[in-house]
């Protein structure tokens, strides 16, 4: 009976994963302190600032984001954040692609990145090289990466 229950549970879980795609549950991170989520079909990458990145910079008072349709290579600078201490922090494309959409709310309210970085994305890219996603850190590797700083 336990074996049957386990089997049912496993097939339910795999069913959920196959329905929405494993990557929908996976946030990856760049070494530039950005989080990245890839859509199920590997076509769209949503990029935000990690909470560690937001803490590092302090109060963010200006966000400069790219224009739509701009093409970026991986690690190419696409924007700037500036903190209230005259400090600039460059934003670098975690994967290559074309800018689909930018979060206009951040231009008027840059503090959203401090208040809730996990739920305030910055840019959505149309991904041109999905394989580059493999170069990003998963959450376990990111925890170790951040620990080095602490």
């Amino acid at each position: 009976m336990n074996i049957i229950k386990t089997g049912i549970k496993q097939s339910l879980v795999s069913g959920i994963y196959s329905k929405v795609g494993i990557r929908a549950f996976c946030t990856h991170y760049s070494a530039e302190l950005e989080w990245v989520k890839l859509s199920d079909d590997n076509k769209v990458a949503t990029v935000g600032l990690s909470s560690f990145g937001a803490q590092r910079l302090g109060k963010i008072n200006y966000v400069e984001l790219p224009k739509e349709h701009r093409k970026c290579r991986r690690e190419e600078k696409f924007g700037v954040l500036e903190s209230s201490n005259a400090t600039a922090f460059g934003l670098y494309a975690p994967v290559s692609g074309e800018v689909l959409e930018v979060n206009e709310k951040l231009k008027k309210s840059p503090s959203l990145l401090n208040e809730d970085p996990a739920n305030n994305w910055m840019v959505k890219f149309k991904v041109s090289k999905p394989d580059e996603f493999k170069k990003l850190m998963d959450s376990n590797k990111y925890k170790k990466f951040v620990q080095w700083y602490r």
């Binding site: 590092r56 008072n61 200006y62 500036e82 201490n85 005259a86 400090t87 600039a88 670098y92 602490r150």
Partner: protein
């Protein structure tokens, strides 16, 4: 080891290109750069600055003055041969070794502050700004009892004489300063607009009322440079200081790196990439 690069009337545009190369190249080491003036007047805007909001572009263009945007944060300055530029580019680990008792101060409420000993990850931009004033430039300007950090500026009392800009990356920070030894009053008033966001201590004063000149307190820039060199040589734990040549610094330009310094094109009314011997057009 800290590499010390001393320049004299070296174009600030090229200095910033070198600094960006050093900043963006992994393991480039620790640097202090001192440049005694830039040969031609130039307006320098911070990384997120909007040229039309900060600069009287028509006036600047008519005076034959270039406008550039640097890769670091901070405000706008009209620089010339009487501006003294200093840059500190350190790895966070080096800062921790030089100043192991440095603490990070975070303000939790308006009345409470928490001080914690530093690790690399809890050094914030404000900490570097405070460190630069309290542990470094306080010694450079020790004769001036009213030297202080006012928000992000160095001031005597409430008059600014030095503006700061910083950049943070994974392993290092850049803190650079434009010191106003002297400036042409006319350039300042004519070239720069009053910015939308101004420091509170400025209290809506115009540029000439808000700024002061180091020449009114020091007979020569050499006196200040000598104070700088003494402060560098007296850093805690006596790190080795190696004076290097421009050519050694220029080598880092050969490393591929993102280039964010830009020049304003007055015809196109837009920023454009700098094309010069440091960044030639590739065929």
């Amino acid at each position: 080891m800290i590499r010390l690069l001393r320049l004299n009337r070296f174009p600030i545009l090229k200095q910033l290109q070198i600094e960006e190369a050093l900043y963006r190249t992994p393991n480039s080491g620790n640097w202090i750069i001192i440049n005694n003036g830039t040969p031609e007047p130039i307006v320098i805007v911070g990384a997120t600055g909007k040229a039309d909001k900060l600069v009287n572009l028509d006036e600047v263009e008519s005076r034959g003055i270039q406008t550039m945007k640097r890769f670091s944060g901070g405000g706008t300055v009209v620089a010339d041969e009487n501006t003294l530029f200093t840059s500190i580019l350190f790895e966070f680990e080096t800062l921790k070794q030089l100043f192991p008792t440095m603490s990070s101060t975070t303000t939790t409420t308006t009345t409470e502050t928490t001080t914690t000993s530093i690790n690399v990850g809890n050094i914030y931009p404000k900490d570097i700004m405070n460190w630069s004033a309290n542990s470094f430039y306080k010694h450079v300007f020790q004769e001036q009892l009213d030297f202080r950090l006012q928000e992000n500026d160095y001031a005597f009392g409430k008059q600014k004489f030095g503006g700061n800009a910083q950049s943070f990356s994974k392993h290092k920070f850049l803190h650079h300063t434009s010191f106003l030894y002297d400036f042409k009053d006319d350039h300042m008033m004519a070239c720069l607009k009053q910015p939308d966001k101004i420091p509170e201590y400025r209290q809506n004063r115009d540029h000439l009322s808000f700024l002061c000149k180091l020449k009114d307190r020091y007979q020569s820039k050499d006196h200040i440079i000598n104070n700088l060199l003494k402060t560098i040589n007296n850093l805690p734990t006596s790190p080795s200081i190696k004076e290097v040549t421009l050519e050694e610094a220029e080598q880092f330009l050969l490393n591929p790196h993102p280039k964010s310094n830009q020049l304003f094109d007055y015809n196109l009314k837009n920023w454009k990439d700098i094309i010069n011997e440091y960044n030639p057009i590739k065929n």
